[in-house]
């Protein structure tokens, strides 16, 4: 069956999708709901988001993958101890790094549990921000569970302050929930792309279950039942569960609203909708058969439509499963197997605690600046636009344009600046010289933005950005992002009021695969 042939008949325009999503989200904002809601009620802790209960916020506030604020300050790492997988996805070629499931290819460096633990201790000692260890592949963390759980067990003994999380396709999940609870794994991610076998058969060619290989609708039916059962069991045990969905245009785009409702009803606390990344050279079924990924606008439309359901996460970078560092940064080259073997690792819990306390103070300051900026902003606002921001963490505009490998995207109105995503780009500046051939691709990646906030920018890219209609701004260097964004916006409004400029809508942008997922 061909995925592309079927796509035209079921495709619904994103405009109508957006409308139906809004309509559905309205009745669900009923006061102080513990399962989310659309953010109208305020019952989270003071520093937490409005739509998240305090006990969940307490658990996730320092988790870089789950809390939008934390990802500026804390780091996660993944270790590649789980190469086995029990299903096949059409967006995955097991040989190579998979951008969709955040996993490296099986030919990337594979670690034994003992090696993995040494790596984690080495990284945690060198990078005190490292608070989260995830197992996300290269295959499915639960397809060969012995290695995953051995790693967790050793870590819990040797570094009890590190949070554990794992990612799974869910097929083996229901029987593993007790084991997961035993190791105090408090974050689980399930990749759920559909709840309807008719959609599923276009995503999964086969699964291996109860000693048989299942195909077509039967396979998808078993998979969705197992995924939802696993989610329910995790929720019953109080284990936080995030859902990842890969947005596949023409296959599951309108369907993701139903997925969003289904997973919210079963207690998922976050829903992360990621773009399909599909290129022929990855050798995946989708890549080879011309299935395209969504554009930035299509992705945002589906994310916006789902925003009233389970809390949506927009800062997932689909980082590689063996990545190390703050989100958007990869320091894994410093911690290869040979280097770790040489290292003398001393795990200093007190030093780590001290560092984390200083980060907490910095975060409070960032939060206060945000509240202040929001309070100062005028309330009567109709313009909404996107800004790109070059940052290397701490929640500040603190990166040189030429050094950015990704830009964070904020949606700004007079009232607030909300993080809505990120875009990867190739480094503009290499060896001190700007690479002119990179600039058009950077412009493509942030083409839907009105301005880009940077710490500094050279004359050449400045002119080219201006020519493309994107305003380069370095006036807010080193300020907190939300405050900078709102200040720029106020200035933008003032210039419109003075008749210096007029507000023009921007075009769409292209989502692309970034540096972390290059074929190994």
């Amino acid at each position: 069956m061909s995925a592309s042939a079927k796509s035209s008949s079921t495709y619904i325009s994103l405009d109508s999708l957006l409308k139906s999503g809004r309509a559905q989200s309205e009745p669900s904002s009923s006061g102080c709901s513990s399962s989310g809601g659309s953010g109208k009620s305020s019952c989270g802790s003071a520093a937490g988001p409005d739509d998240m209960p305090a006990h969940i916020w307490e658990k996730v506030k320092n988790h870089p993958c789950y809390s939008e604020e934390a990802h500026h300050h804390y780091a996660r790492m993944h270790v590649a101890v789980a190469p086995a997988c029990n299903i096949q996805c059409n967006y995955c070629n097991r040989k190579y790094d998979c951008s969709n499931e955040s996993r490296p290819g099986v030919v990337s460096q594979k670690l034994t549990p003992e090696q993995a633990v040494k790596k984690v201790l080495a990284v945690a000692s060198a990078i005190p921000q490292m608070t989260v260890l995830g197992i996300a592949g290269p295959g499915d963390a639960l397809a060969n569970p012995a290695k995953t759980f051995k790693t967790f067990q050793l870590l819990q003994e040797q570094a009890p302050d590190i949070k554990l999380c794992l990612s799974t396709n869910g097929l083996a999940l229901p029987e593993m929930v007790d084991e997961i609870a035993k190791y105090n794994v408090d974050h689980v991610t399930i990749t759920i792309n559909m709840i309807d076998p008719e959609v599923g058969e276009r995503i999964y060619p086969w699964i291996f279950y109860q000693h048989k290989r299942w195909t077509g609708r039967d396979a998808a039916k078993i998979l969705t039942e197992r995924q939802l059962e696993g989610l329910e069991k995790l929720s019953a045990k109080g284990i936080l569960t995030k859902i990842n969905s890969v947005l596949i245009p023409g296959v599951n785009d309108e369907h993701l609203l139903e997925v969003n409702r289904a997973v919210k009803a079963r207690g998922a606390f976050l829903h992360n909708i990621m773009p399909l990344i599909s290129e022929a050279e990855h050798g995946t079924y989708f890549g080879l058969n011309g299935q395209r990924g969504p554009s930035a606008q299509e992705l945002k439309a589906v994310q916006d439509a789902c925003a009233g359901g389970a809390n949506l996460m927009r800062h997932c970078r689909q980082c590689r499963a063996d990545a190390v560092g703050l989100l958007g940064e990869d320091r894994s080259d410093e911690f290869t197997l040979d280097k770790i073997e040489q290292m003398e690792v001393v795990y200093d819990l007190d030093k780590r605690r001290e560092y984390q306390q200083s980060v907490e103070r910095e975060r409070q300051a960032q939060h206060a600046a945000k509240l202040e900026a929001v309070a100062a902003a005028p309330a009567d606002e109709d313009i909404k636009l996107l800004l790109a921001v070059a940052t290397q963490g701490q929640g500040r505009v603190n990166q040189h344009f030429g050094h950015a490998t990704e830009f964070q995207i904020y949606e700004v109105s007079g009232r607030e600046a909300v993080f809505v995503g990120h875009r990867r780009v190739d480094l503009y500046c290499q060896g001190g010289y700007g690479e002119d051939e990179q600039l058009p691709s950077i412009v493509n990646a942030i083409n839907d933005c009105h301005a880009v906030l940077v710490a500094k920018i050279g004359a050449c890219p400045r002119d080219e950005l201006l020519a493309a209609g994107i305003e380069p701004v370095d006036a807010y260097a080193h300020e907190f992002i939300e405050k900078a964004a709102l200040s720029w916006f106020a200035d933008y409004r003032a210039r419109i009021a003075r008749g210096e400029i007029s507000h023009q809508p921007r075009g769409d942008a292209r989502i692309r695969q970034g540096a972390y997922t290059a074929a190994a």
């Binding site: 190469p83 086995a84 997988c85 029990n86 096949q88 097991r94 040989k95 099986v106 030919v107 594979k110 290269p138 295959g139 397809a143 060969n144 012995a146 291996f208 000693h211 048989k212 290989r213």
Partner: protein
């Protein structure tokens, strides 16, 4: 006939735990099947489990180890007695 793993193997390690006879192990470069332990899953399952789960279809029959169904069943009986 026992099965064998070819050089297409990507070392994903998913076949190892599904083998009912513990015939599969990590070799120097790729995973390997011990022909003395492989019964083509005869006695346990209808179909060779490792073939069904291998993501890159790299586990064909090994022509150097031809065995009849009766011989395989025999091997199975011997193995479970061990």
């Amino acid at each position: 006939m026992a099965l064998k793993i070819t050089h297409e193997c990507i070392n994903c390690d998913v076949c190892e735990p599904v083998c009912p006879n513990h015939a599969i192990s990590q070799g120097v470069e790729i995973y390997e099947i011990d022909p003395d332990l492989c019964t083509e899953c005869v006695g346990h399952f209808d179909k060779p489990q490792c073939q069904l789960i291998c993501p890159v279809s790299c586990i064909p029959l090994d022509p150097e180890h031809e065995e009849t169904p009766a011989q395989l069943l025999d091997k199975y009986r011997r193995l479970i007695r061990l």
